[in-house]
C-alpha cells in the first residue's frame, strides 16, 4: 500500500500521528499544494488510534452554523472519495435518525433542523409513524419508559469503511511522495525563543522533533494525535483545553440485514447501525472519567444492552461478539482545536472527541491550506485555540455528545 523507506533527518513538514487526520493532512498538502517533503510519524501503526476503532458514522446535521458548514464540506469530500483516492471506501448513504424521547429533546431537534435547512442540509423532524416505516424494529409504541416522540432525520448521513479511508489517504499520499513512518514515537519537540523557562511556548519557533529513531530537523510540526494531543503539545509548551477519555463500542454476531438506517438516542446514551455483513455495531457516551488506558468495562456492556433493548426489544437473543475502546480528546464545547498555536511552526488538528472520523477529509484539506499559506482558512477560524481565552466557544454538545 505504501513504501517502506529509511527515515531521513530533515523534512519540510512533520505530521505527528498516523490516523485519518494526519494522513488526510499529508495527502492534501501534496495533492492541493505540491508540498511533498512530508513525513507522517506514528508511534504504533497507521490507524491504530481512534481511526481504526470508530463506528464510522458520517453526517452534517450539527447545531451551529460554523459546525454545519464544516461537516457538510466533509460529506462532499466523502461523496467523491472512492474515485479521488481510487479505493472503495464503501460509503453507504443510508440515513441517520436521532431519536427524541422528551419534549426538550424534540425542541433541540427542531432547532437543529432549522439551522440545517438554512445551510441547505437535508434534515427534518419526523414523527413515530414515519420512524416506524424507516426502522420497523424500533419500539415506537407509547409503552416504553422513554417513548419515541419523534426524530431528527438526516438522509445524507451514513457509514463509511474507516480502514479504507486510512489506507486510501496513506496510499495516495505515498504515491505523491509523502513518507509514512510507523513505530516512530515523537519524544520531544524542539522550540527556541519561547516565553517558557525552557525556551518553549508562545513566541517561540519550531526547529525539529526528537523521535525514538533519532532527531529530525523541520520548521513545521502538525499535531494530529487525538487522545495523546496534550502530551505532544506539552512538548512544544502549548496548553490545550483537552481531556482524554476512552469511548467504548461493541458488535454482535451477524444476522440478516433488518436495520436500514443509523439510529441514535441521546437520552438512552446509545446508537446502533448494521454493517453490510449483518453485525449490529453499538456505541455510547465516553467513559465517565479521564483515562489513557483502553480496557473495556462490564458496566458499559450492561448499560448498553439494557438501553438497546428498550429501543429494540426484538433483539434480546442476539449475542455480542466483541467490545473495544479508543481514546478521545474531549473539548469543553465539543468542537475541535485547529490551526496555529502561538508557537511558530507548531499547528494543532485535535479536539476530535467522539466525532472526528467524519471530519477528517475537510480537516486535512483545511490544515493543509493553513500550512501551505501560513494563514488560517476562514472555515476553521471559529475553531482556533484562542477561542477558549476569548470566550467564543462553538457549543456542539447538543449535537455531538452521543450521536458521534
Amino acid at each position: 500500500m505504501w513504501r517502506d523507506v529509511p527515515l531521513r533527518n530533515s523534512y519540510d513538514v512533520v505530521i505527528v500521528g498516523g490516523g485519518v487526520h494526519g494522513l488526510a493532512t499529508a495527502y492534501y498538502l501534496a495533492a492541493n499544494h505540491g508540498i511533498t517533503d512530508v513525513a507522517v510519524l506514528d508511534k504504533a501503526y497507521l490507524g491504530s488510534g481512534g481511526s481504526g476503532r470508530n463506528t464510522a458514522i458520517v453526517r452534517s446535521n450539527y447545531l451551529t452554523p460554523e459546525g454545519v458548514a464544516f461537516y457538510d464540506r466533509s460529506l462532499q469530500l466523502y461523496n467523491t472519495m472512492s474515485a479521488d483516492l481510487n479505493i472503495n471506501v464503501m460509503f453507504s448513504e443510508r440515513g441517520h435518525l436521532t431519536l427524541a424521547h422528551t419534549d426538550s429533546a424534540l425542541r433541540t431537534m427542531r432547532w437543529r433542523a432549522e439551522v440545517n435547512k438554512l445551510q441547505g442540509i437535508d434534515s427534518s423532524v419526523i414523527g413515530p409513524d414515519e420512524i416506524k416505516k424507516l426502522a420497523p424494529s424500533l419500539d415506537t409504541s407509547s409503552h416504553p419508559r422513554f417513548p419515541i416522540l419523534g426524530a431528527l432525520y438526516h438522509p445524507p448521513g451514513g457509514i463509511v469503511r474507516h480502514d479504507a479511508v486510512v489506507w486510501g489517504y496513506a496510499r495516495a499520499a505515498d504515491h505523491l511522495g509523502v513518507e509514512m513512518h510507523q513505530q516512530t514515537e515523537v519524544t520531544d519537540i524542539e522550540v527556541t525563543g519561547g516565553d517558557g523557562p525552557d525556551g518553549k511556548g508562545p513566541g517561540g519557533r519550531v526547529t525539529g522533533v526528537v523521535t525514538s529513531r533519532g532527531r529530525i530537523s523541520t520548521p513545521t510540526v502538525v499535531n494530529c494525535t487525538a487522545g495523546w494531543a496534550s502530551l505532544i503539545s506539552d512538548m512544544a509548551g502549548v496548553k490545550l483545553p483537552i481531556s482524554t477519555r476512552p469511548l467504548q463500542a461493541a458488535v454482535t454476531e451477524p444476522v440478516k440485514v433488518f436495520l436500514p438506517t443509523v439510529v441514535v438516542s441521546g437520552s438512552l446514551h446509545v446508537y446502533v447501525s448494521q454493517t453490510d455483513r449483518g453485525e449490529l455495531v453499538f456505541g455510547a457516551s465516553v467513559d465517565p472519567y479521564n483515562n489513557y488506558g483502553i480496557t473495556g468495562s462490564l458496566e458499559f456492556t450492561e448499560e448498553l444492552a439494557g438501553h438497546v433493548l428498550e429501543l429494540m426489544p426484538g433483539i434480546s437473543k442476539m449475542r455480542l461478539l466483541r467490545q473495544w475502546s479508543g481514546l478521545c480528546d474531549m473539548t469543553p464545547d465539543y468542537s475541535p482545536v485547529m490551526g496555529f498555536t502561538g508557537v511558530d511552526g507548531f499547528l494543532c488538528d485535535v479536539g476530535w472527541g467522539t466525532y472526528g472520523f467524519k471530519a477528517a477529509p475537510v480537516s486535512g484539506e483545511q490544515m493543509a491550506e493553513a500550512v501551505a499559506t501560513g494563514t488560517t482558512p476562514e472555515m476553521i477560524a471559529p475553531f482556533s485555540l484562542d477561542r477558549f481565552h476569548a470566550g467564543t466557544l462553538v457549543g456542539e454538545k447538543g449535537a455531538a455528545a452521543v450521536g458521534h
Binding site: 495523546w228 496534550s230 502530551l231 496548553k239 490545550l240 483545553p241 483537552i242 481531556s243 482524554t244 465517565p288 472519567y289 479521564n290 483515562n291 489513557y292 488506558g293 480496557t295 468495562s297 462490564l298 458496566e299 469543553p332 477558549f388 481565552h389 476569548a390 470566550g391
Partner: protein, 91 residues
C-alpha cells in the same frame, strides 16, 4: 471496575460518584480577569500519569474531595490523597 476510595464511605464503585475533573486552585472571582477565569475553566493539564482530581460521592456521603490517580495505569495513589492535603494543608 474502578473502586474509588471515598475518605468517608470507603471504596465504592465509580458509578456511585460524579467525576468533577482536574483539581486546581480557583482564582479569586473578584480579582481574576475574564481570561484568567476562562483559563481556569477550560485549560487542562491532562497528563498520562499522576493527576489530582475532584470527585463527588453522589450515592454516599455527598461530599466533594480530591484524590490522586495515575491516569495511565488507572490506579489511585497509595495513600489516595496527596500528602499535603492528608495533613490538612492547602496544596
Amino acid at each position: 471496575m474502578l473502586l474509588v476510595p471515598c475518605p468517608n464511605c470507603g471504596p465504592r464503585n465509580a458509578a456511585d460518584f460524579s467525576y468533577v475533573g482536574e483539581a486546581k486552585a480557583r482564582p479569586d472571582p473578584n480579582a481574576a480577569t475574564p481570561e484568567e477565569w476562562r483559563d481556569y475553566l477550560y485549560m487542562k493539564d491532562n497528563p498520562a500519569g499522576r493527576l489530582r482530581e475532584t470527585w463527588y460521592c453522589r450515592s454516599g456521603c455527598r461530599q466533594y474531595f480530591v484524590l490522586e490517580r495515575d491516569t495511565a495505569a488507572n490506579r489511585f495513589a497509595d495513600p489516595p490523597l496527596p500528602a499535603a492535603e492528608a495533613d490538612g494543608e492547602e496544596a
